[in-house]
C-alpha cells in the first residue's frame, strides 16, 4: 500500500515528487452480460510518472477506454488496485471517487465535451471554481491565463458552437489543466481533428505536460500519436502485450 494514512484527494502533491502519478497493479475488469462474463481488462500493470506521456494503443474493443475510465476513477476494477499519487482509489465510494476526479484527474475527450451554453472562459472557470476555493474573480483571472496560454484570448466569450474543432480541443485541454491535476487522461484527442490540427493539439499537450510535470495517458488508434509519447503501451484483448513490436515499457 502506497497510500499514506493522511492522504486526501484535495491535498496538493508533494513538491518535486517524481514518483508514479498513476499506478495500476494487476487490474482486471469483468462485465456480466446475462449468463456470460466478458473480460475487458486482464491483469494490467503499468505506471505513469510526472512529466511523462504514455500512449495506450490497440484495436477497437481492446479495453483502452475501460483502462482509461478505471485510471480516471470512473470505474472500479474487478481485481487489482489503482493508485493516483499514492492514494489507493480501488475501493473508494462514489463520493470519494468524485473527489479524486475533481482534484486529481483532468480529462480530454474525443468529442471535446464542452458545455454548450457556456463560453470558453466559463467552461474553464466553472472547473476552477468547483475544484478550488478561489473566488469568482480569481477563477476568472486564472481561466483567462490558461486560455491565453493556449492562444485563445480572442475566443474567451465564444460559445463552443462558434469555435473550430481545434479551438474546442484546446479549450478542453485548458479545462483539464485548470484543475491543476497531476494526471491527465485523453481519450482519442485527435479523432475529430484533421492531421494538422491533431498534431498541433498533441504538441501542445506534450509541451504543457512536460512544462507542468503532468502525467498524461493518451488512448488512441492514431499511429501519429506515437511521435508525441515518451512510451507506447499496446493493449489487445484486455492485456498488455509483452514483446509486441509496438510495445515499449509497461
Amino acid at each position: 500500500m502506497i497510500q499514506s494514512p493522511s492522504s486526501r484527494a484535495d491535498e496538493p502533491a508533494p513538491p518535486g515528487d517524481t514518483s508514479a502519478v498513476l499506478r495500476l497493479d494487476n487490474v482486471s475488469k469483468h462485465y456480466r452480460t446475462g449468463e456470460f462474463t466478458v473480460t475487458a481488462l486482464s491483469r494490467v500493470t503499468f505506471q505513469v510518472n510526472g512529466g511523462e506521456i504514455v500512449a495506450v494503443m490497440g484495436p477497437s474493443g481492446s479495453g483502452k477506454t475501460t483502462l482509461l475510465t478505471i485510471a480516471g476513477a470512473l470505474l472500479r476494477p474487478s481485481e487489482g488496485s489503482v493508485h493516483i499519487r499514492g492514494i489507493d482509489i480501488t475501493n473508494m465510494n462514489e463520493t470519494e471517487l468524485a473527489s479524486i476526479r475533481r482534484h486529481r484527474v483532468g480529462f480530454v475527450y474525443q468529442s471535446f465535451n464542452l458545455l454548450e451554453a457556456l463560453t470558453a472562459w466559463e467552461n474553464v472557470r466553472l472547473v476552477i471554481q468547483h475544484h478550488s476555493k478561489d473566488s469568482e474573480h480569481e477563477a476568472s483571472i486564472r481561466a483567462r491565463e490558461l486560455l491565453d496560454m493556449f492562444g485563445l484570448s480572442h475566443r474567451l466569450n465564444s460559445l463552443p458552437k462558434k469555435m473550430s474543432d481545434g479551438e474546442k480541443q484546446r479549450v478542453a485541454i485548458a479545462r483539464a489543466l485548470a484543475k491543476d491535476a497531476d494526471l491527465m487522461l485523453a481519450d482519442e484527442p485527435t479523432a475529430n481533428l484533421d492531421a494538422r490540427r491533431g498534431a498541433e493539439v498533441m504538441a501542445l499537450l506534450r509541451e504543457k505536460a512536460v512544462e507542468l510535470n503532468k502525467a498524461v495517458v493518451v488512448v488512441s488508434h492514431d499511429n501519429r500519436i506515437r511521435q508525441f509519447a515518451h512510451r507506447v503501451v499496446w493493449l489487445e484483448d484486455g492485456t498488455i502485450r509483452e514483446g509486441d513490436p509496438h510495445s515499449v515499457g509497461a
Binding site: 451554453a117 466553472l126 471554481q129
Partner: protein, 375 residues
C-alpha cells in the same frame, strides 16, 4: 444561482418562455379562481351582514337568506316586541323569483330576490339609495343597481310575473347576490304580488335590540317564547347564506384548482425534464469532472425554482391586473384579491417547482459518467 443552471435556463429562450407561460397560466388560473371565490363569498353575504339587525328569526330548518324556505306567522312579531331588550322587530317576506320586463320578450327572464319589508320599521329595506324614491308605495319596487346595469331595468319600467306588475320607482345599492339581485317592496305589495295565502305568512323577522343588550342572552330568552323558531345572529346568518351558495360552487372550484395546478406542474415538469434529457451528456461530463450529484440536483432545482418564480410573478401580475378589468367587462366576475391568497398561490408554485424538479433529479442519478467517453 449556479452558472450552469443560469446558462442552461436562459440559453433556451423559447423553452423558458413556454415553461414560464405554463406556470404563469396555472398561477393566473389558481389566483383568479381564488379571488373569484373570495369576491363571490364576500358579495353573497354582504346584504345580510349590512342589515342593521342583531338577530334573524327563521322557522326551524331554514338557515339562510338565499333559499328563504322559512314560514312564520305574523303574530310572532307582537310577541317578540314585548320581550325585554327588543327595540324593533321587522317582518320580511323573501322569495326567489323569475321575472321579466313588461314589453320585453316574456322568455327573457331574470332572477329577483323579492324582499317585502315594513317601511315603518325600516329593517330589511334598501341599504343605500342611488336614485328614485324610498320607501316604495303600493305595487312599486326598488331594484338593485346591478339589476339596472345587467338587465337595463330603469325607473319607470315595469317588472312582471304572470299577470302581476310592479313599477320600478328607485335604484338601491348593496343587494347583489351575483346570481340574483334584491328588489324591495312593501309587505302588502309582496303579499299581493306573490299571492300569499294566508296573508299573515312571513319569511323572517329581523330584530334590533336596544343598545348594550347581550345578543346571546336575548336570543336565549326569545327562544323560550318560541321553541319552534330559531334565532341566528346577523354574522352567522350571513355565513350560512354564504355557505349555502358557495358550498355548491366549492367542489367544482376545487376540481378546477387541481386541474390548474396539474397543468402548471405538467408544463413546468415536462420542460424541465426534456431539458434535463437533452443535457444528459453534459450532466455526464460534469459527473466525470467530479461534480457531485448534489451539485447537479441544485442545477436542476434552481432551474425549476427560477421558472416557478418567474411564472409566479407573471401569473400573479396578470391576476392583479386582469381581475378588475374582467370585473368591468363581466358584472358577475366579482373578484377580491387577498394577499393571503397570493401567498397561498406562491406556496403552490413552490410545490410545483419542487415536484417539477423531482423526476429530472432522479434521472440525473442514473446518468453514467462513463457514457461521455463513447463518441
Amino acid at each position: 444561482m449556479l452558472l450552469v443552471a443560469r446558462k442552461n435556463l436562459f440559453s433556451e429562450r423559447t423553452r423558458l418562455a413556454i415553461s414560464i407561460g405554463g406556470v404563469a397560466l396555472s398561477v393566473f388560473l389558481i389566483g383568479i379562481l381564488l379571488s373569484l371565490f373570495r369576491g363571490w363569498s364576500q358579495q353573497v353575504g354582504s346584504f345580510v351582514e349590512e342589515v342593521p339587525a342583531d338577530l334573524w328569526v327563521a322557522s326551524d330548518g331554514t338557515t339562510d337568506f338565499a333559499a328563504a324556505g322559512s314560514i312564520l306567522p305574523e303574530g310572532l312579531s307582537l310577541q317578540f316586541e314585548f320581550m325585554p331588550d327588543v327595540e324593533t322587530v321587522g317582518p320580511l317576506i323573501v322569495r326567489p323569483l323569475e321575472v321579466s320586463k313588461t314589453g320585453a320578450d316574456p322568455d327573457d327572464t331574470f332572477d329577483l330576490q323579492l324582499v317585502g319589508y315594513d317601511p315603518r320599521k325600516g329593517l330589511g329595506g334598501p341599504l343605500e339609495m342611488v336614485d328614485g324614491k324610498s320607501p316604495p308605495g303600493p305595487d312599486e319596487i326598488i331594484v338593485d343597481e346591478e339589476m339596472q346595469s345587467r338587465y337595463d331595468v330603469n325607473i319607470g319600467d315595469r317588472i312582471q310575473r304572470g299577470t302581476k306588475n310592479l313599477t320600478v320607482v328607485g335604484i338601491s345599492r348593496g343587494g347583489d347576490f351575483i346570481y340574483t339581485q334584491v328588489g324591495f317592496t312593501t309587505i302588502d305589495t309582496a303579499v299581493d304580488f306573490l299571492d300569499i295565502d294566508p296573508v299573515g305568512q312571513r319569511t323572517f323577522f329581523v330584530i334590533k335590540l336596544i343598545e348594550g343588550a347581550d345578543v346571546e342572552n336575548a336570543a336565549k330568552r326569545l327562544r323560550l317564547t318560541a321553541p319552534q323558531v330559531q334565532f341566528v345572529e346577523g354574522d352567522d346568518f350571513a355565513q350560512e347564506t354564504r355557505d349555502r351558495i358557495m358550498g355548491q360552487i366549492l367542489p367544482i372550484l376545487i376540481v378546477v384548482l387541481a386541474v390548474a395546478f396539474i397543468v402548471g406542474l405538467a408544463v413546468a415538469g415536462l420542460t424541465i425534464y426534456t431539458a434535463t434529457i437533452e443535457k444528459s451528456r453534459e450532466y455526464g461530463i460534469l459527473k466525470a469532472e467530479g461534480f457531485t450529484n448534489y451539485y447537479l440536483y441544485r442545477v436542476v432545482f434552481e432551474q425549476s425554482l427560477v421558472t416557478g418564480i418567474l411564472g409566479f410573478v407573471v401569473g400573479a401580475g396578470m391576476t392583479i391586473m386582469m381581475g378588475p378589468f374582467a370585473q368591468d367587462q363581466v358584472p358577475q366576475f366579482v373578484v377580491y384579491v387577498r394577499w393571503q391568497d397570493i401567498l397561498a398561490v406562491a406556496g403552490a408554485t413552490l410545490l410545483m417547482a419542487l415536484l417539477a424538479a423531482y423526476i429530472p433529479m432522479r434521472r440525473l442519478t442514473s446518468i453514467d459518467p462513463v457514457s461521455v467517453f463513447k463518441g
